[in-house]
């Protein structure tokens, strides 16, 4: 029903707009057409502004040196933990596996950053800055704003991943030959992977809309669980068959397999290999490039649909129950 002055039932509110900037319409009510917008330009402007704000919050408010250290120290330490574990047991006799874990943990820092970026945007704005209610009622699309905020953290994660791989190549013996890289596969795989990471982040953001302040650790917990089944630091073949099947249904598994396949062709496959479910089902040693992309597209589409559905349900429930401006603490 149109919102308009009493007794003006046949008059469209937008038809009575004066067009004087932000002044009230002539009939004195609220014209929803002014806030409708939402074409591509509006979305882009919202996204850009949110991404800029996210970057300022991530980087500018921090001492640059500290910011750099913490961005790099986290993924690098995660890789070093595994490198030491490998070295202790194998005594340095397994450089291929060492390279495998370095690349896996570096890529995982991107996953962690991407998932956390979106979920923490909700918690930051609701619990700390208490701006979520205002952001929500603004004409910007809420999901676009969230995406923008998440992109900033994703950029920080990408920096950490890049530096970890660089350290791996220079100091830890990760074999990298730019001439042997399948650049097309790498670019397509990276792009699809980023899309999947954002979708998972959106899913968790939907959950954080419903939970309390202590959800700060949820992204890490979710990423930790996916870490088990995504072939990040060990081939799926060491897992029981049921977990291997779950892993193969996870898009992140295919993303990481794709990056390894494209950029580090001599590295063992995390999906295939002796005793793997993949080899049992297909009779091949490891998936080829086309299979990886198709599997990533398929599983990524499922996750995206799930994330979209869950976010809509969560958003509606949050509105119904007044969760958008409900701060918690313990």
């Amino acid at each position: 029903m149109a919102v308009g002055p009493s007794g003006s039932g046949t008059t469209s509110p937008s038809a009575t707009t004066t067009g004087d900037g932000l002044a009230s319409p002539a009939w004195g009510g609220f014209d929803p057409a002014r806030a409708r917008g939402r074409d591509v330009r509006d979305h882009w402007r919202s996204f850009r502004t949110a991404a800029h704000l996210g970057w300022l919050m991530e980087a500018n408010w921090t001492d640059p040196l500290l910011f750099f250290i913490y961005s790099v120290a986290k993924p690098l330490s995660a890789a070093l933990i595994l490198v030491v574990m490998v070295e202790i047991v194998s005594g340095g006799a397994d450089p291929a596996y060492r390279a495998f874990v370095v690349v896996g943990t570096a890529l995982w820092s991107l996953v962690l950053a991407g998932i956390a970026g979106l979920a923490w945007s909700i918690l930051d704005d609701r619990e700390r800055y208490r701006m979520l209610r205002y952001v929500y009622v603004s004409p910007s699309d809420f999901q676009v704003v969230l995406l923008g905020r998440g992109v900033a953290r994703l950029a920080v994660g990408a920096m950490g991943a890049f530096i970890t791989i660089a350290v791996g190549v220079v100091l830890l013996g990760v074999p990298f030959d730019p001439l042997r890289v399948d650049w097309l596969l790498l670019i397509v795989d990276l792009a699809l992977g980023l899309w999947v990471i954002v979708a998972i982040g959106m899913l968790l953001a939907a959950i954080c809309l419903q939970t309390r302040q202590e959800s700060w650790s949820y992204p890490e917990a979710l990423a930790g669980a996916l870490f088990l089944v995504s072939g990040v630091v060990f081939p799926l073949a060491v897992l029981p068959s049921a977990l291997q099947a779950i892993g193969m249904a996870t898009p992140l598994t295919w993303w990481i397999e794709g990056v390894r396949h494209a950029a580090f062709p001599d590295m063992p496959s995390s999906v295939g290999g002796a005793g793997s479910l993949w080899s049992t089902l297909t009779g091949t040693a490891a998936p080829d490039a086309a299979t990886i992309i198709v599997a990533l597209l398929g599983t990524g589409a499922v996750v995206t649909l799930a994330a979209t559905g869950v976010f809509r349900v969560s958003e509606r429930r949050a509105k119904d129950r007044g969760l958008l401006d409900q701060t918690t603490g313990s």
Partner: protein, 292 residues
């Protein structure tokens, strides 16, 4: 003279001019009051069971499978399980102790704490008690389920010493958390980034998934400064007697003494930093300004 007349006092406790008994009871009530939401929260927020018990258990499992992929000796799986259980406490110390005052400030509670006639140490202690109960449930589940699922066999000769070391580790950890709470508050917005610095890098230098002795000098430094490192090493020595892993760290008895010293130092440092903080809060009035 009116009861509302201004009378200069060094602190709200002094202004209240209560008897020592009443002061003590107020402090105890503060401990209970601050611990209450954390303990009650265990039952009110069901999602934590999934996100704070099941998922971290899976993360611990990932490291178990790394050792399995490497065909490591079975006691290494036990190291990972023990480390995985202890991460519950460390994460609690970092996220819900060290960062807590800064969040309280952002939420507007901090000025109320400073104005109330109670010891601030009681607030921190209450936070620690609540956090301890919260984390213990998670650690216990991770330890029990992983032990059963991955067939970890412990070999313990000195149960009492093991329990004492565990208790001392928690005391030192939460003492550190109390000290960091004041420091993180002073460092302001950097605090959030510092929580990031205090996770994986600390896991690495503490030897969360491997014997810390393998890190040489870095491991020795960790043993002297990080309760997680020294506590884990002592517990591994006591829980896996006879296991073949790199030696070179002090005996559990010596490490227990290190933990006692750490606890005393951290709690005293927490008290000192709190006093400094409280003085600044009153003199400059900046600590009640949010988001800085």
């Amino acid at each position: 003279m009116s009861v509302f007349a201004s009378s200069p006092a060094a602190s709200p406790q002094e202004a209240a001019a209560w008897s020592p008994r009443r002061q003590l009871l107020t402090d105890l009530r503060s401990v209970r009051g601050r611990a209450y939401p954390r303990i009650t929260g265990l039952f009110r927020e069901k999602s934590w069971v999934f996100f704070e018990i099941l998922l971290p258990f899976l993360a611990t499992s990932a490291f178990v499978f790394v050792y399995r992929a490497l065909q490591a000796p079975p006691e290494y799986v036990g190291f990972v399980v023990l480390g995985g259980a202890m991460t519950a406490f460390w994460l609690n110390v970092i996220w819900m102790m060290a960062s807590q005052l800064w969040w309280e400030k952002s939420q507007g509670n901090l000025e109320l704490y400073f104005a109330a006639p109670m010891s601030f140490m009681a607030i921190l202690f209450g936070m620690a008690v609540g956090g301890l109960v919260m984390s213990s449930s998670r650690a216990l589940v991770v330890l029990a389920v992983a032990t059963l699922l991955y067939g970890v066999s412990f070999a313990v000769d000195q149960w009492l010493l093991l329990l004492a070391v565990f208790g001392l580790t928690l005391a030192a950890l939460y003492g550190l958390g109390m000290m960091l709470a004041s420091l993180f508050l002073m460092w302001g917005r950097e605090a959030f980034h510092l929580t990031q610095l205090f996770t994986e890098p600390v896991y690495f230098v503490s030897g969360l998934n491997f014997p810390v002795a393998r890190l040489g000098l870095l491991g020795a430094l960790a043993l002297g400064t990080i309760p997680l490192a020294v506590g884990l090493d002592a517990m591994r020595q006591l829980a896996f007697v006879g296991a073949e892993f790199p030696v070179g760290t002090p005996s559990p008895e010596v490490e227990a003494v290190i933990l006692v010293v750490m606890t005393a130092v951290f709690v005293l440092a927490a008290r000192w930093t709190l006093n400094v903080l409280e003085r600044r809060a009153r003199q400059e009035g900046r600590l009640s300004v949010r988001w800085q």
